[in-house]
Symmetry: C2
Subunit: 344 residues, 2 copies
DNA sequence: TCCTCCGCATGAAACGTTTCATCGAATTTG
DNA sequence: CAAATTCGATGAAACGTTTCATGCGGAGGA
């Protein structure tokens, strides 16, 4: 149906190579000839066939990102960051969703390799040591890990310092006079969750605060947060934590809802800090304090590392970039707790 | 770097065509030969080159979806629905983000056409009459419109009845005794917004309720909702609407926050109904009533129509599927307003 | 025994580009 | 004026598949 270069050439009365030159090096062909070719292209509605192009070139000009969950605001922001960089470089970003399913992830990676994509940004379902990823690298398709394990040294990675994130939240709460603090999050097999908890624990012990109550949740979801709130609210006031730090904002929104529903006030009775600073955090009924990750920045940097490796090839030095999180204080934790009121 | 079929053939001591047969019609090659080929494939780490495959086949096996905003929960759910169907059919779905930018949309469509994708699901930035889309169809790449204008008759479309959605919300509020009602949403150039408002207006006039206050917003965002809340809360209680219907949930979350922040109670002082029923609606501090759209269903159906057209080709009849929305009542509007309390 | 048919393997052709060595004509240089 | 250089256009080769007509040897039927 669609015209090929050959037909354009015939239509314009030139050779096949000339049409190709008009497309790729317009300057080497004389203006009148060029114009005749362009007219023919317009008239026939010619569209380049990218398969043929890629076949010749040996690789495509698209970059892929494989995310754990397309409907998680964290990842969509990472995607937007990567997109900006990739588009600026004249390439195209396609998004693949593994849905936290290793089999789907595997299928996507296979397909991407068959397509000879220029490179792959990936947050692997399990860890960064996946042999599948090594194979991509062996076949000289660069891989950059996003926010999951630095893995081997044969690839770049970008991540955020989750231990520091936990520390920031803990410093803030301790500084506001809190001594009975809870950590809500899970499962701990997720490295991020474990790191955030570790940061909190370390900071508290440095301040001589021994009492960290840990509520492990099965998921990082709103409803898991509601369940955790129930457990906490059921405690007698004298033993109930005065502050709760959640491993992500979805949990924190659930805790917020559950705690308010049981007649407790936020932040007066319970201070609350989340993680990720998704847009909905600021929009909660009590605006949520949260540890912000540079989500778009994460995507941008990952894409830059990838393009650098793809273009440079031989001399590229793999790098592991770690970003610093940042605490955003809002109403949910912004209530100074004086010693006299402690334990009320 | 990566081995080709030719090398596999040499390595296994067979002809090139035989390797291809092992890959595509394993049954026509004798078991011992087949095994030798498979061994060679494994040993060389052979990976099919999809470009060459597509070049030969004339089209690719991937389907694309171009969405307005990857970070909008509505679209991510549509994507998940489409994904399920496409994967089941053994194809691959790639997601492209236009970010509501016509130029980006255009670039994506160009690239997708060059790639000879199997078909395109698209929510166009402007309307469904885009000439760019006609060109795709002319070049026999099927297009299905998702939730935006049915456009011409040369393509399928899926949508949700937004007028009905407005009616459902209005019926609910009137049935609960509300007589002073506000509609918050905008810009009205978006067909969905206009339709939802029209549904409300029609229902109210059928019930003899004349008083529909319309607050037009510049965007469908949380902060626009907060601004609208300010405007409403400033009214004297005797003239303030007792119920607010918002054109989407982000607006409604903003209104909720603004209204509570000004000391009004939801639903006692102001009942609130949103639209889309995103996950965060149920998780709000006051769980939000909302008009639910079958988001995943929308994606599934669109993908089915697309694949049907792509496979069937000649005899395909274009269809325009319209879904019914459904009201989900939660706490934010679930307060029976008796005549005696009206106008309190 | 001869013919036919069947199962398997073969290798050339084609898909639509890009690249590159080549060539002719026009222009410049000595 | 001959030789050298430049400019523009040419067409064949190559990229890695899939497909298809062809070939070949052995088994079954007449």
């Amino acid at each position: 149906m669609t015209a090929s270069i050959k037909e354009v050439a015939r239509h314009a009365g030139v050779s096949l190579g000339t049409v190709s030159n008009v497309l790729n090096r317009p300057d080497v062909v004389s203006p009148p000839t060029r114009q005749r070719v362009l007219d023919a292209i317009a008239e026939l509605g010619f569209v380049r066939n990218d398969s043929a192009r890629q076949l010749r070139a040996g690789h495509s000009r698209t970059v892929a990102i494989v995310v754990l969950d397309v409907s998680n605001p964290f990842f969509t922001d990472v995607v937007r960051g990567a997109e900006a960089v990739v588009e600026e470089a004249g390439a195209m970003l396609v998004v693949c969703n593994s849905g936290e399913d290793p089999a789907r992830e595997h299928r996507h990676l296979d397909a991407l390799e068959e397509q000879r994509v220029r490179g792959v940004l990936v947050t692997p379902v399990h860890d960064g040591r996946h042999p599948r990823l090594d194979r991509l690298v062996e076949h000289s398709i660069p891989v950059v890990l996003v926010d999951r394990g630095t893995g081997r040294a044969n690839r770049c990675s970008v991540a955020v310092d989750d231990v520091l994130g936990g520390r920031l939240a803990a410093e803030h709460l301790v500084g506001h006079g809190h001594r009975r603090i809870a950590f809500v999050g899970g499962p701990f097999s997720i490295r991020q969750v474990a790191d955030r908890r570790a940061g909190v624990a370390a900071t508290l012990s440095e301040h001589g605060v021994a009492d960290l109550r840990v509520v492990e949740t099965p998921h990082l979801t709103v409803s898991a947060g509601r369940d955790a709130a129930e457990e906490l609210a059921a405690l007698p006031a004298s033993r109930r934590p005065t502050a709760v730090f959640c491993a992500n904002d979805l949990l924190a929104l659930g805790v917020l809802q559950g705690v308010i529903g049981r007649g407790l006030r936020v932040p007066e009775d319970v201070a609350l800090v989340g993680y990720d600073d998704i847009d909905f955090a600021a929009a909660a009924a009590v605006p949520l304090s949260s540890v912000r990750q540079p989500r778009e920045q994460l995507g941008r940097t990952a894409a830059q590392l990838l393009l650098e490796e793809a273009n440079d090839g031989g001399t590229h030095q793999h790098r592991h970039v770690v970003f610093q999180p940042e605490l955003v204080v809002r109403q949910s934790s912004d209530h100074r707790r004086t010693p006299s009121r402690r334990g009320r």
